[in-house]
């Protein structure tokens, strides 16, 4: 039976259309990958498809963008480390705080719960752009004891907090959908045994919600890694804190003609998200969409 259904649905036109879409979606990235290994003169001289006849490859572009040489150097390694240092805590903070709140919205008993939940969901309405200026002022002018800033400029702290804040509404919403689907009997049984919320949360909810936590964590990781706007506003711009996306944008803006650096640089910047993506893609949507998406 299965097989007959399959035959009917995969007509030749559909397959052809699918292949065309797949090719269009892949070629741009493939072209960049090929280019990043070509010598500078070749990149600037003719198109990457010429490698079919002219097979010259080099690692020089990568050596150039990664080396910590003079002030003109792209110095991407340092920014790469910054990206990791921003993204890992940023993701963990959002996951933990989001899951805690999601649990209470799903299983806590208090008045005004649903309204408060809808309000938090609706905060997605607030564009990042709207929050940036006041939040920056808050960090630099309000949150301090005397002259000491609680979240010092020129460190990752401001970026962590900003990313956590902006990630929370969606985290709470998606994790809530999953956590609310956990069978009530399990939680009731624990309650009868005298378990408090912290025990239930860490012993029952977190283990059972691991697929959802993992898949949201992956998405949050990708979003933070790929962010440019928050970084531009809160990093101050230097090699101390700024992430790789910001550096890449700078290279693109100031030296747009240096294709050999741009192509290699772009690949350095997308290597981590691509690795995360291909390594973990099977966890992606399954966990995330398990709850809440029923037609």
């Amino acid at each position: 039976m299965q097989r007959r259904v399959r035959q009917r649905l995969t007509s030749r036109t559909a397959t052809a259309a699918a292949v065309i879409i797949a090719v269009i979606w892949t070629i741009p990235t493939f072209g960049l990958l090929v280019s990043s290994f070509r010598p500078e003169d070749n990149i600037k001289g003719n198109g990457w498809w010429n490698v079919i006849t002219d097979r010259q490859f080099t690692l020089e572009n990568y050596a150039d963008v990664l080396s910590p040489g003079g002030s003109q150097s792209p110095n991407l390694l340092s920014y790469f480390v910054n990206s990791l240092a921003i993204v890992i805590p940023g993701t963990i903070f959002t996951l933990v705080l989001g899951a805690m709140a999601a649990y209470m919205f799903a299983w806590g008993r208090f008045r005004g719960k649903d309204s408060l939940f809808i309000f938090v969901f609706a905060l997605q309405i607030v564009p990042l752009q709207m929050a940036l200026i006041p939040l920056l002022q808050l960090f630099t002018q309000v949150l301090k004891f005397g002259d000491v800033q609680l979240l010092p400029s020129g460190t990752y702290a401001q970026l962590w907090v900003a990313h956590t804040i902006f990630g929370l509404p969606l985290a709470i919403f998606l994790l809530h959908n999953f956590i609310a689907e956990i069978p009530g009997e399990v939680i009731e049984a624990a309650r009868v045994d005298g378990a408090g919320h912290s025990t239930i949360f860490w012993r029952i909810i977190v283990p059972l919600a691991t697929p959802a936590l993992a898949s949201f964590g992956i998405f949050q990781f990708l979003w933070l890694w790929n962010d440019l706007l928050v970084a531009l506003v809160f990093s101050g711009g230097g090699a101390d804190v700024a992430p790789i996306t910001q550096r890449l944008a700078e290279i693109q803006g100031s030296r747009g003609g240096e294709w050999q650096r741009l192509t290699a640089g772009a690949f350095v910047s997308i290597i981590v998200p691509l690795a995360v993506f291909f390594g973990l893609q099977r966890y992606f949507v399954r966990g995330l969409l398990a709850g809440g998406l029923k037609g």
Binding site: V5, L9, T10, S11, A14, T15, A18, A22, T26, T29, G31, G47, N82, P89, V96, M100, M104, G108, D114, V120, F121, L123, Q124, V126, P127, Q129, M130, A131, I133, P134, Y156, A157, A162, I165, L168, P169, G196, H197, S198, N226, D227, L228, L229, L232, V233, T245, L248, Q252, G253, W259, A266, I270, P273, L274, V276, Q281, R286, L289, L293, G295
Partner: protein, 321 residues
């Protein structure tokens, strides 16, 4: 190396402080006196998120709303910033572009994603085919900007082309074209990048939804003699409606806020700016926070109906439960 050690230390300290805060909260909620324990526990779990949201989103939103009625010196100027927005030709172009973005991107990304999901459903090599189209989701907008600038690259007609699209034009005997410079179609070429990124998201979510359709329904429709197209419109679409709404909503909100693509590919020049980019330019580059805030407020008003619609759906679902 020293540098990396120092950065690592910052991360470790950050994580330790966070763990200490969470540990403290758990300690407090566990040790709370029996009588009010439930309340303390609820507060303990919700407070960190709610406090952050209050300071990081609610307060800034109010602050920005106020800011949008002030000039660069912080003096109250009424509706001047909004008048500027709706009268200056450049600002009007920004608004027009944003509308084009928000109409085209969700529509095309969702339909191509849906078509692809249907085409490859249960085909051989489905996973690999999915990964190819989903891959751009993992690439930053900045990275995508580089990738596509390379596709659109322009050289004079007498030179070898290095951009694929122009090479194709040349192969067909056409003149090479300045894809990113010639208004108004350059906006469409930027939009193509966003569609390239978002289609994979739509495809994966909708594909999961299609797989969730009970086989009995499909089988019944098939036995009734429904053609592939009838199955699609009468069975598939109604069943995955919920997921479709989520997809369109998510892409719409993402599109309204799009910033990086425009910023890195044209920096908003050549009549390609959108509200989110213009907001950054005005507030952080031109020293006009009032205008920036006004643009942000407009963005807020544009997202409002989308989220209100979803919040109402959510409320309905909750009532059913």
């Amino acid at each position: 190396m020293e540098d990396i050690a120092e950065k690592g230390l910052q991360v470790v300290v950050g994580l330790a402080v966070f763990a200490a805060i969470i540990g403290l909260i758990m300690l407090v909620v566990d040790r709370a006196p029996k009588s009010g324990r439930e309340k303390v526990q609820i507060a303990g779990f919700l407070a960190p998120a709610l406090v952050l949201l209050a300071f990081g989103l609610v307060y800034p939103a109010l602050q920005t709303s106020y800011l949008s009625f002030t000039d660069r010196n912080g003096e109250f100027v009424g509706l001047d910033n909004f008048v500027w927005m709706f009268t200056q030709p450049e600002a009007l172009v920004t608004l027009r572009n944003t509308v084009i973005w928000v109409v085209l991107v969700p529509l095309l990304a969702s339909s191509i994603g849906l078509a692809y999901a249907v085409f490859i459903d249960r085909a051989r090599g489905e996973k690999a085919l999915k990964a190819l189209v989903f891959m751009p989701m993992a690439i930053s907008f900045v990275g995508a900007g580089v990738i596509w600038r390379f596709v659109y690259a322009y050289k004079g007609a007498e030179q070898d082309q290095i951009g694929l699209l122009n090479q194709i034009l040349v192969w067909f005997g056409q003149e090479p074209k300045q894809f990113l410079l010639d208004a108004p179609e350059n906006t469409l070429f930027l939009i193509a990048v966003m569609i390239w990124i978002q289609t994979g998201f739509a495809m994966v979510v909708l594909s999961a939804a299609i797989k969730g359709i009970p086989t009995e329904i499909v089988e019944a429709a098939r036995l009734d003699g429904a053609s592939a197209w009838q199955q699609f419109t009468n069975v598939t679409i109604p069943t995955i409606r919920g997921s479709l709404i989520v997809v369109v909503t998510t892409i719409t909100i993402g599109t309204l806020k799009v910033f990086d693509i425009v910023r890195t590919m044209t920096a908003g020049q050549y009549e390609t700016s959108v509200v989110a980019n213009e907001m950054y330019t005005q507030a952080f580059r031109a020293g006009e926070p009032g205008r920036g805030a006004a643009l942000a407020l407009i963005l807020f008003l544009m997202v409002l109906p989308v989220v209100v619609y979803n919040a109402r759906l959510l409320r309905k679902q909750k009532e059913i439960r």
